[in-house]
C-alpha cells in the first residue's frame, strides 16, 4: 500500500491507536489556527450494497460515520485545508485525521512525524493481512480422487 497516496491515509491512520493520532494532531497544530469549514459531526451512514444474484442495490444496514473539514492557518500565514470521513463515531478522531490530511496534502511542518505514523499503520495492516491469508492458506482444500495415491491429509 502506497503511504504517500491520499486515498490510503484514512485507512492507515485508522490502523494505529486512536490516542496516538489525536495527540500528534493536537501537538502539531498547537500554535496554529484551526477553523472548521464544516462542523465536525458524527452519526450513521446507510451501507448500500449490490446483491450478488440480480445486481440490484439494497441497504445492508447502518455504520457509524464521523466527518470533519478543517482549515489550518500557520503563523507565517500559510492556509491549508484537510478533511476526512471515517467509519467511527469518534468525532475527535475524524477531526484529528482531517488535520493530518491537511498537513500531509500540503507538506506542512510535521508531515515527517505523520509519515512515521502512516508507516506504523501500514505495518499493522500488513500484519492483519498476513494473519487473514494464513487462515486461508491453512484451510485451503486440496481435492483429489478417491483412488489417487495418497490424499490431502496424508501429504500434510
Amino acid at each position: 500500500m502506497n503511504i504517500h497516496e491520499r486515498k490510503n491515509w484514512v485507512r492507515l491512520l485508522m490502523a494505529v491507536a486512536v490516542d496516538d493520532v489525536c495527540q500528534l494532531a493536537e501537538q502539531l497544530t498547537q500554535d496554529w489556527q484551526l477553523r472548521y469549514k464544516s462542523l465536525p459531526q458524527s452519526g450513521l451512514g446507510m451501507m448500500k450494497l449490490r446483491d450478488g444474484a440480480m445486481n440490484e442495490p439494497f441497504y445492508l444496514g447502518e455504520i457509524p460515520v464521523s466527518s470533519a473539514w478543517v482549515e489550518l492557518t500557520l503563523p507565517d500565514g500559510v492556509v491549508a485545508e484537510g478533511a476526512a470521513q471515517v467509519m467511527t463515531d469518534n468525532q475527535d478522531l475524524a477531526e484529528a485525521i482531517a488535520v493530518c490530511d491537511a498537513i500531509l496534502a500540503n507538506d506542512l511542518p510535521g508531515h515527517e512525524q505523520l509519515t512515521a505514523l502512516l508507516e506504523q499503520g501500514a505495518g499493522h495492516i500488513t500484519k492483519e493481512t498476513q494473519n487473514r491469508k494464513q487462515m486461508l492458506a491453512r484451510t485451503k482444500v486440496n481435492f483429489s480422487l478417491l483412488d489417487a495415491a495418497g490424499d490431502d491429509d496424508e501429504k500434510n
Binding site: 446483491d51 450478488g52 440480480m54 442495490p57 445492508l60 470521513q85 487462515m135 482444500v141
Partner: protein
C-alpha cells in the same frame, strides 16, 4: 365496569434492575468483568448475530449490548437498534461491491474447483460436537499459547487479496440470466418508509438482512422440508471484510473509511424460462448480513429465491408470501409483541372474566329452565 387508574411498582422495578445487576456480578471476588474485545472474540457468533439483527455495524457497542443484556441476543439487538434510532443519518455509501471482499472463508457446494480454490477458514462445520472438557478449566497460559503459536507459524502466503465470484463464472457460461450491471435504482429504505405491500425486492433484502436468525431459519426450513420448491445449491458462501468507500470531502475521490465483516451467500435454484423464446437459465437467491452468520445468510438466500417466485406468480406457500415472511422475521418486533403479554392486562382480563361469568350464568339459567 370503569377503568381504574393505578400506580405503584416503582420501588420494585428499581429493585428488579438492581437484582439483574447483582446477577451479572454475582461471582463477586472470584469473577472479573467481561471486556468488549473478549465478547467480540470469544462470543464471535453471538456477537455477529447482534450486529446484524441490530442493523448497525458497531462491534464495540454490539459487545456492550451483549454484556448489559447478559447474553440475550434479542435484548442486545434491541439495545443496538435503540441506539441507532438516536443518531442522525449523515450519508449513504456509494453502492459497494462485495467482489472486493477480503475473504477469510469461501466455499462452494456447486463445484469443487472454483477459481482461487475453496478455503474453509474458521468454521464449526467439522466439529465433532463432543464436549471439549479441557476448556472447563482452561488456564490463561494455555489460552495465550494458541495465539502465540498461530503467529509463530506464519509464512509468506502468495494468496490474492480478493477472489472472483462463482456466479460470475456461471453467468459467463450462459447458465444464469444476464443482469443489468449498471442498475442504479434507489433501494427501499425500511428504516424510513413503512412497508406497504407489494414492496420491491430491495425492501425484502434489507428486512431479512436485519431479521432474526431463528425466524429466517424456521421459514426457510419450511421451504426446504416441502412447503416450497427452491431446492438450493450453494454456489458460494463467503465470509470476509468489505471495504467501505466514502468520497473524500475535498477531492471527491473514493477512499476507504473502514471495513465491515459480513457473510454472503448465493444459491442456485431450479432453472426456468419466462417464455419459449428465452434460453432457460438457473434462478438465484441471495443472502447477506453483518458479522459471521452462515445459517442466516443461507436461510436468507433461500427465502429471497422463494419470495421472488411469490412476487412473480403469487404465493403458494408461506415462504413465498412477502407479507407473511417480511412481517414476521424481525426479532425486535416479534420479541416486543411477545413480551408485551407480561405487561398488566388487568382491565381487559377483568372484562374477559365478567363476560365468562355472564355466559356461565346464562348457561346455568338455560339449564334450570330446561
Amino acid at each position: 365496569m370503569g377503568y381504574v387508574a393505578i400506580k405503584g411498582g416503582g420501588v420494585a422495578i428499581k429493585g428488579a434492575q438492581d437484582t439483574l445487576e447483582y446477577m451479572r456480578c454475582a461471582q463477586g471476588d472470584t469473577g472479573s468483568p467481561l471486556d468488549m474485545k473478549t465478547i467480540e472474540h470469544q462470543l464471535r457468533f453471538l456477537h455477529g448475530r447482534v450486529l446484524s439483527e441490530g442493523g448497525l455495524y458497531h462491534p464495540e457497542l454490539a459487545s456492550l449490548a451483549v454484556k448489559q443484556s447478559l447474553g440475550d441476543s434479542l435484548e442486545a439487538a434491541f439495545a443496538l437498534r435503540a441506539y441507532r434510532s438516536t443518531k442522525p443519518r449523515l450519508l449513504e455509501t456509494p453502492t459497494l461491491d462485495t467482489s472486493n471482499m477480503r475473504i477469510v472463508r469461501r466455499i462452494s457446494a456447486a463445484f469443487k474447483d472454483i477459481i482461487g480454490g475453496q478455503t474453509l477458514g474458521a468454521t464449526t462445520d467439522y466439529a465433532l460436537r463432543l464436549m471439549r472438557t479441557e476448556l472447563l478449566d482452561e488456564s490463561p497460559e494455555a489460552f495465550r499459547q494458541v495465539a502465540q503459536q498461530w503467529f509463530k507459524d506464519q509464512g509468506d502466503n502468495a494468496i490474492p487479496d480478493t477472489f472472483p465470484k462463482v456466479v460470475d463464472s456461471l453467468r459467463a457460461d450462459g447458465l444464469l440470466a444476464e443482469v443489468d450491471t449498471a442498475a442504479q435504482q434507489q433501494p427501499f429504505d425500511i428504516t424510513r418508509e413503512p412497508m406497504i405491500f407489494p414492496v420491491p425486492r430491495s425492501a425484502a433484502l434489507a428486512t431479512m438482512a436485519r431479521g432474526e436468525t431463528g425466524s429466517l431459519l424456521a421459514i426457510a426450513y419450511s421451504n426446504m422440508r416441502g412447503y416450497g420448491d427452491v431446492h438450493p445449491t450453494v454456489a458460494e458462501l463467503r465470509v470476509g471484510y468489505v471495504p467501505v468507500m466514502l468520497p473524500h470531502p475535498i477531492s471527491g475521490e473514493l477512499i476507504e473509511a473502514g471495513e465491515v465483516l459480513m457473510t454472503e451467500c448465493e444459491v442456485v435454484a431450479m432453472y426456468e424460462s419466462d417464455d419459449e423464446d428465452d434460453k432457460p437459465t438457473f434462478s438465484l437467491g441471495y443472502g447477506a448480513c453483518f458479522g459471521h452468520n452462515e445459517v442466516k445468510a443461507i436461510a436468507m438466500s433461500i427465502l429471497d429465491r422463494s419470495l421472488q417466485k411469490g412476487m412473480k406468480d403469487g404465493p403458494t406457500n408461506p415462504s413465498e408470501d412477502p407479507e407473511f415472511v417480511l412481517l414476521h422475521v424481525d426479532g425486535i418486533d416479534s420479541m416486543g409483541f411477545c413480551t408485551h403479554y407480561k405487561m398488566p392486562h388487568y382491565v381487559t382480563f377483568q372484562s374477559d372474566m365478567d363476560r365468562l361469568r355472564t355466559t356461565q350464568e346464562k348457561a346455568q339459567q338455560a339449564e334450570e329452565q330446561a
